[in-house]
Subunit: 303 residues, 2 copies
């Protein structure tokens, strides 16, 4: 089975809540927006989709809304859970709902050893038929993958792609790190990037995919960056990226989830207080800063 | 309502699993062991009780087994969850099952701000009648409380106690830190300790409570330390503590949950593989080290 659909631009939509309840209509609107914009895939229930906060019922509904409205666009489903049993169950639910792959991060409460994280990936691979995107997101999981562990998990046949943290800063270092990752992973493993602010440079350096928070809310803006970068058009990619600079700064200051939630609420894509508590939306100066950027960049919001 | 029951020695039992299912009989055996040993309270569903890994049904069953078998010993219930809604629900479930207080840690997926953590405690206080033990456990939550935030949350009337990480190393520093904590918290707030290895010294320095992992599995050994230390008998406290030195070293190396699970399995208090995956029990040299200690300290295992 080809896993080429894991390449390109994957959009990570919010799972919008309303008074702590899933807002089905808003969720459907967001999915349709992403499908119509033409992203390469949609990853529901990732970090941006608040997957780890949702009940099984909420997850199932969000998944069904996703696959129902995604049209031909492949849906990838975040399945991370503190407990292996729940991650396996989530992966099976994702397959039953029509998702084409799962995104798996090693959530921790008790600090996990490398062997325990390997076991998690092996257990989910054994418990489900879907290809796995390994999600290396130390900012939320507080787990650091060694290269040795990445290589070991990469040997599991179901692991088709890795979503890695931002590459180092210079172009030469980025290319070296990508070559290093490709050298340690089986041929054909797709190397995708997190970190919207450095994605243009990472794609220009040769990454296979951009797993993008902003594409889930402002897909046109992400598509402009991604198309130019995948085509190797540095000038256009950097220009499109520069237009997003104010938002990248807000992401670094407040967390990308809170920033895209503020954008989505302002655009009417989600109602107020769309995040699951204890996480709270931006207020005061932080919110005004994001909204000021949005007003002066209304072109980026056009889907 | 007096919250004096939050003082003294609180035992944190395992919630034993068997093939990923709650082992009701083993859970009951452990509760009876703790009740009969005479600990001052029992905290179920804490970190040692794997609370964050369990489903609502499993939590309810573990709570009911706890309150049914604890006799007159007050039961405190861990209620932490990634989502505020679930922590509030857990607190209500705990009250309905007869628990006398809740233990609340700020679990994180998205990194939480101080305001968000304050909001979590305020929401649980508003949503439940039970007194709250604030659980400051950076090792599992990766959240660091500032003194300012501790003081702010301490102002919430429901917050009756704090469970703090090990105090600094010297006796004078311990006393200074305890005075500092008492100065910033409302009068009467109970200051309890985590960290079994340094509990004897912390109690001798004047802490009000020891929230103890080892007391959940080897209650007699913990009681010997606690009684001597609360009585100010330094020689006896240090002697009882020294007998546990090998286990404290194993805790530091492998994590106390894995160590007490190995002990409980060896003593027949739990079946094999009693921990929730991805967490795994000790194997090989690590397990042998713990069992060797246990064989040469069989007196500590007597309940």
């Amino acid at each position: 089975m080809s896993t080429d659909f894991l390449r390109g631009l994957s959009a990570f939509p919010l799972t919008p809540l309303r008074d702590e309840e899933l807002d089905d209509q808003a969720a459907a609107r967001i999915m349709i927006r992403l499908r119509d914009a033409g992203v390469d895939s949609i990853t529901v229930l990732g970090s941006t989709g608040s997957g780890p906060y949702l009940s099984r019922d909420e997850r199932l509904r969000a998944l069904e809304i996703g696959t129902r409205h995604a049209g031909e666009v492949p849906v990838i489903a975040g399945v991370a859970a503190l407990r292996t049993r729940d991650a396996v169950r989530n992966a099976r639910d994702a397959a039953a709902a029509g998702a084409r792959a799962v995104l798996l991060a090693p959530l921790q409460y008790q600090a996990l050893s490398d062997d325990e994280v390997y076991g998690l990936f092996a257990d989910v691979a054994e418990g489900s038929e879907l290809p796995i995107v390994l999600y290396d997101n130390p900012g939320t999981t507080r787990f650091t993958f060694s290269d040795e562990l990445l290589a070991r998990i990469g040997e599991i046949p179901a692991v088709a792609a890795v979503k890695v943290p931002p590459l180092p800063s210079t172009r030469a270092e980025k290319e070296r790190r990508l070559a290093e990752l490709r050298g340690m992973l089986p041929a054909g493993t797709i190397v995708g990037l997190s970190g919207d602010a450095s994605a243009a440079d990472g794609l220009l350096a040769g990454a296979d995919a951009w797993y993008s928070v902003i594409a889930g809310t402002l897909p046109e803006a992400a598509i402009r960056i991604a198309r130019a970068a995948f085509a190797g058009d540095e000038v256009a990619a950097r220009e499109a990226d520069a237009r997003m600079g104010g938002l990248w700064e807000a992401n670094a200051a407040y967390g990308s989830l809170r920033v895209v939630a503020a954008v989505a609420e302002e655009l009417g894509l989600a109602g107020p207080n769309s995040l699951p508590r204890p996480v709270r939306g931006l207020e005061g100066e932080a919110k005004q800063r994001v909204l000021a950027w949005l007003r002066s960049h209304s072109g980026e919001a056009t889907a």
